[in-house]
Subunit: 306 residues, 2 copies
């Protein structure tokens, strides 16, 4: 069994790569829900959806986000009505949110709904939301004060200076049934190359999860999301700097040293392997840019063979 801590795009690629070299039914993704939002009354789960769409082969490879063949009829109309349309929900995507919101209103759990959507779309790995309780990642910004995740990420395109990140509700949240079991029973636990501060940290903030990882540290391999000090996508490097961390493999090693025994870093960062090891982690070096041909399965093999 392989259990993977997951944010959005990076985690989707990680799961895609793992399922090419391992039995899909043996893979469980534990997915961040700190970015979830209620918009127009609809429950939107960006990380769960990104992963579901990617594993279903429905992600738009041209734009790098959203669904293949997406249309924008509803949003265009909403804009004409003067409605809030800064967070663009495509027509296909909206169907997912209508489905989820209706099923939750009928009493289904988020775990059930995630599994129903996955089954309908042909996803063959198990996806578990980290919690079914409300956890909201929030930011303290210099420019605009307190910001919700999507205000920070979408409305301001993460072009603001952050002084603090909180995971509201995390202390009282329960892990989704199956999450702790998946971590206890895994032969290999993988921390995806997702943003450590806003994708992985909320998962670790759900009571019970961090302590399993600390206890099972020997089984945990993290993949650094940085390539030469930069995130492939998103604000990880800037956020690390602003919050006093080093945007380097060493900085990532410091963040993860209590919960992981091995860090995989990219070839371009090979020179920093000794610094990672100095933090008490094993260090593996390979190509971590999974968008490059063959790189994903090769990374997955490195992880499983470690």
């Amino acid at each position: 069994m392989i259990t993977v801590l997951c944010g959005g795009v990076g985690a989707a690629r990680m799961l895609q790569a793992l399922r090419e070299v391992a039995e899909p039914s043996s893979i469980t993704g534990i997915v961040n829900t700190g970015d979830d939002l209620t918009l127009h009354g609809l429950r939107v789960c960006p990380d769960l959806d990104t992963i579901t769409y990617t594993l279903a082969g429905l992600n738009n490879e041209v734009t790098g986000w959203g669904l293949e063949g997406e249309t924008w009829r509803v949003m265009d109309e909403l804009e004409q009505l003067g409605g809030e349309s800064w967070f663009r929900l495509g027509d296909r995507d909206l169907a997912t949110h209508l489905f989820r919101t209706q099923r939750l209103a009928q009493g289904a759990t988020l775990r059930q709904v995630t599994s129903e959507l996955g089954a309908r779309l042909g996803v063959d790995v198990t996806l578990l939301p980290m919690t079914e309780d409300t956890v909201a990642t929030a930011f303290e910004s210099v420019e605009h004060g307190r910001l919700s995740f999507q205000d920070y990420f979408v409305r301001y395109r993460h072009d603001v200076t952050i002084t603090e990140i909180t995971f509201d509700g995390a202390a009282a949240a329960l892990p989704t049934p199956g999450v702790l079991e998946a971590l206890e029973e895994a032969e290999r636990i993988v921390i995806s190359p997702s943003n450590p501060l806003i994708s992985i940290a909320p998962i670790l903030a759900v009571p019970g999860i961090r302590s399993v990882l600390e206890r099972r540290r020997a089984q945990v391999i993290a993949v650094s999301p940085l390539i030469g000090g930069k995130a492939l996508k998103g604000p990880a490097d800037r956020l690390l700097r602003e919050l006093g961390h080093d945007p380097s493999p060493q900085g990532i090693a410091r963040l993860y040293r209590d919960v992981a025994s091995t860090l995989v870093i990219d070839e371009v960062d090979q020179a920093t392997a000794a610094l990672v090891r100095a933090e008490g982690l094993s260090c593996l070096v390979t190509n971590t840019i999974m968008s490059e041909p063959g790189a994903g399965p090769q990374l997955a093999k490195v992880i499983l063979d470690a």
Copy 2:
């Protein structure tokens, strides 16, 4: 000032007709919300929307329902996901529900949202929901027991036998601010040719509304929704029969005699005028089929000249 009690399609045509012969800004529609529902987390107000779309000239004249140029992308996707799609919401229509749900979540009142949608779409009469509290029209059916409005109307296409209609929540509901004033100040109060039992009765069930009409009965003109014993649209005739009323102008007169002083009936029912008068109402006879050329404004003139 003219104030109109409104259901859906019949009321929309009535308001359309009145605004052709009277100053639109002098017209207020008080609209049934007993059919409202929350679907996929979205607040849907079928009567308010039918009226808004019709007055905005956006209604589909070919199908007789829904919006012009409507598309069904989201519903088609939802169906593929295995979601509930028996209540079909078009893409354009969905934008309205997203807008309303978001504004209500932001703290706007249903009155405000209705006014914002009307302003954006070019509606020039005032529309007031009968109440901003939750009132749910429900049915006791022989075949399926208790049914919500949309189960009765859409899911079972009103092809069931009804033994009782209730307006849940009505006793505790408050009229929307402005509703009682619009009734008190009107020179003419019109009861639209809507279904008396499921469109007009819920409005009269909101505390305070019926008593104003009883007191101002001399100003109230009702238009019969029946043509030769049949409703132009919907289940009015069958429901009247099943609940012990006569599906005729006389039956309508008995239902309205305490709240209206005049009943307008269609030419085909001319022979029943004496029976209406026997119930204590004045009776006016004209063409009430407003879909026929010129009939709407002529009916409106008859009402205003009475």
